[in-house]
């Protein structure tokens, strides 16, 4: 990114945007959460460290908008038995910065049409039934300016335990 543009970016506004996403996820405000994503968005959680490609190797999540929408319909369906006791989550977003590499090498070859790439760290506390789980990792958001706001073109979450044996994961990270 050109230095002038870098200066023009209001990091405070970006932080508020990421915090808002975290809040919408925690409060399960799904339509509002989906509205943060562009029509051509992609939501990616690799299943191996340093994964290069979301469509030619397996991923925990490799979702276009359609699949995100299908997921929301499922988890809110009254007969989603695995949500009989609904999963609860708390996201803590920290270390927000403009990605020094501008997402280079991390976009999975998707070449998202974004204006800026933001890096952050996330810790997610998840609870269902008897137990809590902790997820954490590095997050990259490819953001497009949309009016006075942003929209998410690509979100990549590199979990530290991406390749661990794990029980099912149902909500969004």
């Amino acid at each position: 990114m050109a230095p002038a543009l870098r200066e023009a970016v209001d990091l405070g506004a970006i932080e508020q945007f990421l915090y808002r996403e975290a809040m919408l996820l925690d409060e399960k405000r799904w339509p509002e959460w989906l509205a943060l994503y562009s029509e051509d968005c992609f939501y990616w959680v690799p299943s191996v460290v340093g994964q290069k490609d979301p469509v030619n190797t397996i991923s925990l999540y490799a979702e276009d908008r359609m699949r995100l929408e299908m997921r929301v319909i499922r988890i809110t369906h009254p007969h989603a038995y695995s949500q009989d006791f609904p999963t609860r989550m708390s996201h803590v977003v920290a270390n927000v910065m403009l990605d020094p590499e501008n997402g280079k090498g991390f976009d999975g070859g998707l070449a998202p049409k974004a204006d800026l790439v933001v890096r952050s760290s996330v810790h997610i506390l998840e609870f269902r039934k008897e137990e809590q789980r902790l997820f954490g990792g590095a997050v990259r958001h490819w953001l497009r300016r949309a009016g006075g706001d942003f929209s998410i073109v690509l979100k990549r979450i590199d979990l530290v335990n991406c390749d661990a044996p794990m029980e099912v994961v149902q909500l969004f990270l």
């Binding site: 030619n56 699949r67 997921r71």
Partner: protein, 435 residues
């Protein structure tokens, strides 16, 4: 530990119901590790995971740590992952490539066929009973290793049926999976999903050919696909893949009823006749063209006409031959199981075809899929429910007594509980065999 006598084990399995102890009794689980996972042919991996000399992957058979490696002569070995010196697990990574294995503790080294290559300062062993050529001081080979069309199996005991006898005619499902490649070969690209659930391993095996569950368990994902399509697509538009893959589970009972279930004398089984009309999208048409170039029209038609879903090779692996998926069962505890899920690339098929295979993995078979969590909820609840002292019996009565017996295969209508009843006959065979 005192093991129950054969008569006591027999009392747990009736022709049409089984005792809840087989799911919840830790002593029976220990016995299963010894008599089933300790004796049967167990799938350990696929040849393509160790393509080159020096390649290795690690896994477990029951609780036994093992490593599958390809030696410099091209031969595949399955070795106990245990140092011949003082017992350390030699191979620490899940997979990789080495010139030789080196133990992290005192530096003994092993060739990729398990033979001891060297020990530091060998003069310390001069005049002792230690013999560098004694295989017991190497990484020991498993007693039996064999493969069928790229699928590698091993057994912890030397005695028992050959792999061919064990697979029997169920091998035709492996043929179905491999024949669908224009080159007649499969390959694992990248890793696998490792999914843990809180239930006994047998509960998963029961589910695989249980056609009475999809309508109920998977209602939410079936509806998700249908609702999405109705909101976004004109009526009659072809289903996008995620909708196609989820909609199947919502077929009505009379659809499932008409399928054929086949249960094999060795505990294997599959369901046939499940697939809806063949796909006609451009990727699939390209794939058919590649198949026809390789095999000709007639043979291609023959290959694609095979219509099977979820073939179980009892006790530890299941394939979806039409979707290039494999699920490997690893029992961790009486109430805890790990399932490793692999997606295979059909060699010679268009690249786009493999992307579709991964859409299936993503939508149906990943820990974060929209289908599997509801299955796992059911498995976990069976385990929780069986803690109740209510009735000791688990019912497998559906269509009992109406099986059509053949030599190798027994058949039944698609909603029969034949495959489960059959699994417990195999279970009984392993658990009561003299060993």
């Amino acid at each position: 530990m005192a093991h129950p006598e054969a008569a006591a084990i027999r009392a747990l399995i009736e022709p049409d119901r089984v005792h809840r102890d087989i799911y919840i009794d830790p002593a029976l689980f220990e016995l299963e590790l010894e008599r089933i996972f300790g004796r049967a042919w167990i799938w350990v991996g696929h040849e393509s995971q160790v393509k080159n000399p020096g390649d290795y992957v690690t896994t477990t058979i029951g609780r036994q740590p093992v490593v599958m490696s390809r030696h410099s002569d091209g031969k595949i070995h399955v070795l106990y992952n245990r140092c011949g010196h003082r017992g350390a697990k030699v191979v620490g990574d899940r997979e990789g490539n080495v010139k030789f294995f080196q133990c992290c503790y005192h530096g003994w080294t092993y060739r990729t066929d398990g033979t001891l290559r060297g020990v530091p300062v060998p003069r310390g062993y001069e005049g002792t009973a230690f013999d560098v050529r004694d295989p017991r001081y190497g990484m020991m080979k498993l007693p039996r290793v064999d493969s069928y069309r790229g699928f590698v199996f091993a057994s912890l005991t030397a005695a028992g049926p050959s792999l061919g006898e064990y697979l029997g005619d169920a091998r035709s499902s492996i043929d179905d999976m491999v024949d669908r490649s224009p080159e007649g070969a499969l390959e694992v690209v990248g890793g696998c999903f490792r999914i843990v659930f809180r239930a006994n391993w047998k509960i998963f095996l029961e589910n695989l050919n249980d056609t009475m569950h999809p309508m109920v368990v998977h209602e939410s994902s079936v509806e998700a696909g249908k609702i999405w399509a109705s909101e976004h697509l004109p009526q009659g538009a072809p289903d996008p893949l995620p909708v196609r893959f989820t909609r199947n589970n919502g077929f009505p009972y009379d659809f499932w009823e008409k399928l054929t279930l086949k249960a094999h004398a060795n505990g294997h089984s599959f369901m046939g006749g499940i697939f809806p009309p063949r796909r006609t999208d451009p990727v699939y048409m390209d794939y058919i063209a590649a198949m026809e170039r390789a095999y000709g029209k007639e043979r291609t038609e023959q290959i694609l006409a095979v219509d099977r879903h979820n073939t179980i090779f009892y006790p530890n692996v299941s394939i979806q031959s039409g979707y290039q998926q494999l699920r490997h069962i690893r029992p961790l505890a009486v109430d805890r199981t790990q399932m490793d899920v692999y997606a295979f690339r059909l060699k010679g098929a268009p690249d786009e075809f493999y992307k579709h295979t991964l859409v299936y993995s993503n939508v149906v078979n990943s820990p974060s899929s929209i289908v599997m969590p509801d299955d796992h909820e059911a498995y976990n609840r069976v385990q929780e429910g069986l803690a109740a002292q209510a009735s000791p019996w688990v019912s497998l009565h559906r269509d009992a007594g109406r099986d059509r017996r053949g030599d190798e295969w027994t058949s039944a209508n698609g909603t029969s509980e034949l495959p489960m009843r059959n699994q417990y006959q195999a279970w009984l065979g392993y658990m009561t065999a003299e060993g």
